[in-house]
């Protein structure tokens, strides 16, 4: 089957799954709502509780989940291609720990400065992720000649450890309540209650995905090794730079919306490769769609399984991720 046919089948298959999930998710929740009443526009919105639950609580949450899931999954694919390692995650290079540091500072010191309609914690998280990206890249560049992925990995892992230590340090000065709130932020929370965080992250998201689209073929070539890729006409340094920055920005945007939700960025790329094969021109769009559906599904479980209590979505992704990896380990010879 030609690539074009497989591409179409992939898009249709995963697209259908994603659309179905996005349609079902806002309809399901711990509270029973009447669909007819939700769309009864004769009742003023201010008085329509069902409509408010649908449009203020559930719909933004579903869209946030889709956006964050797509970003994490796609970023995971790109990082794995960049580092030539299927075990790489969006968190490997320290981007999310930088974001966590920003968030911890904002929570602990009660920052109230917002930006573009969103409050301090998401802004601080995104700023933290940018700082991490810049530092890691600068460290990796300090060694001569282009961008060695080995040095990048070392720099990323080092900054990961360093930022983690800083997070603990700040938490030490925090009150118990702030520590608790930070801990819950780290577990992920998609209850955005407004479209603002999604809109604010939109420019970064769009830019990242445009670059991802261009990166699909280069990532295939990079998996042969940088020298082989170079001899097949790829500007390896440019491609690696593009991959690093786009995936890091995508991760930063995702973490600023919902916190560092783990496992999406590694489960989805693996699953997708098992289904469509390793060609990045199929893996990237499939992972984007599947990541969205997956996270929305996990959030659905998180908010209904122990109703009225809502679990943090990161717990659900972790509970799925662990057994998934066990299964991966067992099935491989």
């Amino acid at each position: 089957m030609t690539l074009a046919r497989r591409f179409a089948r992939t898009l249709i298959g995963f697209g259908a799954l994603t659309i179905a999930t996005l349609l079902v998710a806002p309809l399901v929740g711990p509270t029973a709502i009447n669909l007819r009443r939700v769309f009864d526009f004769s009742v003023p919105f201010r008085d329509n509780t069902d409509a408010q639950i649908f449009f203020v609580a559930r719909l933004p949450r579903t869209l946030a989940g889709a956006c964050v899931g797509a970003l994490f999954a796609a970023a995971g694919v790109v990082f794995q291609g960049l580092l030539r390692n299927p075990l790489a995650t969006p968190f490997t290079l320290g981007v999310s720990t930088g974001a966590a540091l920003g968030a911890v500072l904002a929570i602990t010191f009660n920052w109230s400065v917002g930006f573009a309609g969103i409050s301090a914690v998401p802004v601080a998280a995104f700023a933290g992720s940018l700082v991490a990206v810049v530092i890691v890249y600068a460290l990796a560049q300090a060694r001569h000649r282009g961008l060695s992925t080995t040095v990048l990995l070392l720099a990323g892992v080092t900054m990961n450890a360093f930022f983690s230590a800083l997070v603990l340090f700040v938490q030490y000065f925090a009150s118990f309540a702030d520590t608790y709130r930070t801990l819950r932020w780290l577990m992920g929370d998609l209850d955005v209650s407004s479209y603002q965080p999604i809109l604010a992250a939109l420019p970064t998201t769009v830019a990242a995905f445009l670059i991802f689209a261009w990166l699909a073929r280069p990532l295939n070539l990079l998996s042969l090794g940088p020298d082989s890729a170079e001899s097949r006409g790829l500007d390896v340094t440019r491609a690696q730079r593009a991959a690093f920055f786009s995936a890091s920005l995508a991760t930063g945007a995702a973490v600023s919306i919902g916190g560092p939700i783990g496992f999406v960025g590694i489960i989805i790329p693996h699953l997708v490769r098992l289904i469509v094969g390793p060609d990045h021109r199929l893996v990237l769009p499939a992972a984007t769609l599947f990541g969205a559906a997956f996270l929305v599904g996990c959030d659905l479980v998180a908010r209904t399984i122990l109703a009225p209590v809502e679990l943090p979505v990161g717990i659900i992704t972790a509970l799925i991720g662990g057994p998934f990896f066990l299964w991966l380990l067992i099935r491989r010879p």
Binding site: T2, L3, A4, F7, Q80, G81, R84, N85, P86, A213, W214, R217, N220, L221, L222, S223, L224, G225, D227, S228, E230, S231, R232, G233, L234, D235, R273, G277, P278, D279, R281
Partner: protein, 319 residues
């Protein structure tokens, strides 16, 4: 068609070094900038390479001049660290020399875009490790990428070319198998097929273009078992005989080079020791100069050249 002229390639690294008499360390400046230049130190001793005050130049290739004719078969020989791989990369255009030029049919490589370069020259490395589980067909298809536009997808002609090149290397029946499951010899043959697909100028239905391009192989048989070595050697000979492509191999297998190549270039420490037709170049004196080994160069009844190392130069026999 591929011509390297007086090519220098090396790395800058900061260094303080002494003059020839080992006295106080002195830093020599190069008043003309950072280009590597040869000039003598103040004591009129051996010529050495200097750069400016802020760095020094460690040369990997020194003044290499090499010609690869269309449909030629050139061998680059030398001990490890002689600069063979670097020379291959410079010939392929993926590294730019600090001095000297490399031209393809008269056009300097620096004037060609990366894709254009890739369409004319393909490199087969010693080993290929994939990060992900691509099939043979997918790996070979990556050879066609330099022919595709930014968002273009390979079409039926590309698929046909891939099948043709796989067939020409005897690996068509492996098409849908994961690359990682292949034997060493099969992998090399697939990568050669991918390289041929990379060089294939037009549609499968047309005959190969008159200037098919250059296939560069870096130690093509070094990591292979004996049987696979023969396989790959036979394939290369076949490709050469069919007139499809010019071939450059770098190797330390003297017998292989002696048998397959029409011309040889022997290098040591980045400089050419001898260069020319195989018969003239592959002599015991040259082997001694390059490898420091006394050897016999003989012709086997099968037609293959054999180089037998007998003993190290100036020392006792090899046990």
């Amino acid at each position: 068609m591929l011509q390297a002229t007086d090519v220098w390639f090396g790395y800058h690294q900061p260094r303080i070094f002494t003059d020839l008499h080992g006295s106080q360390p002195r830093i020599f400046t190069d008043q003309h900038g950072s280009q590597p230049r040869i000039f003598t130190d103040q004591h009129g001793s051996q010529p050495r390479i200097f750069t400016d005050l802020h760095g020094s130049y460690r040369a990997v290739l020194r003044g290499i001049t090499l010609a690869v004719p269309a449909n030629g078969f050139v061998g680059i020989l030398g001990p490890n660290g002689a600069g063979k791989t670097t020379l291959l990369r410079v010939l392929a255009g993926t590294r730019q020399p600090q001095r000297g030029t490399v031209t393809f049919d008269g056009t300097p490589l620096t004037r060609l875009s990366r894709a254009a370069l890739a369409r004319r020259m393909a490199v087969v490395p010693q080993e290929t490790h994939l990060a992900f589980d691509y099939t043979v067909a997918e790996v070979t298809m990556m050879g066609r990428y330099p022919h595709l536009g930014a968002f273009e997808i390979e079409g039926p002609e590309d698929i046909a070319i891939v099948e043709e090149t796989l067939a020409s290397t005897g690996t068509l029946d492996l098409k849908d198998r994961p690359f990682s499951t292949l034997s060493g010899g099969e992998k090399q043959r697939v990568i050669i097929a991918a390289a041929l697909a990379q060089l294939h100028a037009g549609h499968a239905s047309q005959p190969p273009s008159p200037h098919p391009g250059v296939l560069l192989l870096d130690e093509p048989t070094a990591s292979l078992d004996l049987g696979y070595q023969l396989e790959v050697a036979a394939l290369l000979k076949q490709l050469h005989d069919a007139g499809r492509v010019a071939i450059v191999i770098s190797t330390h297998d003297l017998g292989l080079a002696g048998t397959l190549c029409e011309s040889l270039t022997l290098i040591r420490d980045g400089a050419i020791v001898a260069s020319g037709p195989t018969d003239e170049v592959l002599t015991p004196e040259n082997v001694r100069k390059v490898y420091g080994v006394e050897a016999d160069v003989m012709r086997h009844p099968s037609g293959q050249r054999v180089v037998v190392p007998v003993r190290q130069s100036g020392t006792r026999e090899v046990p």
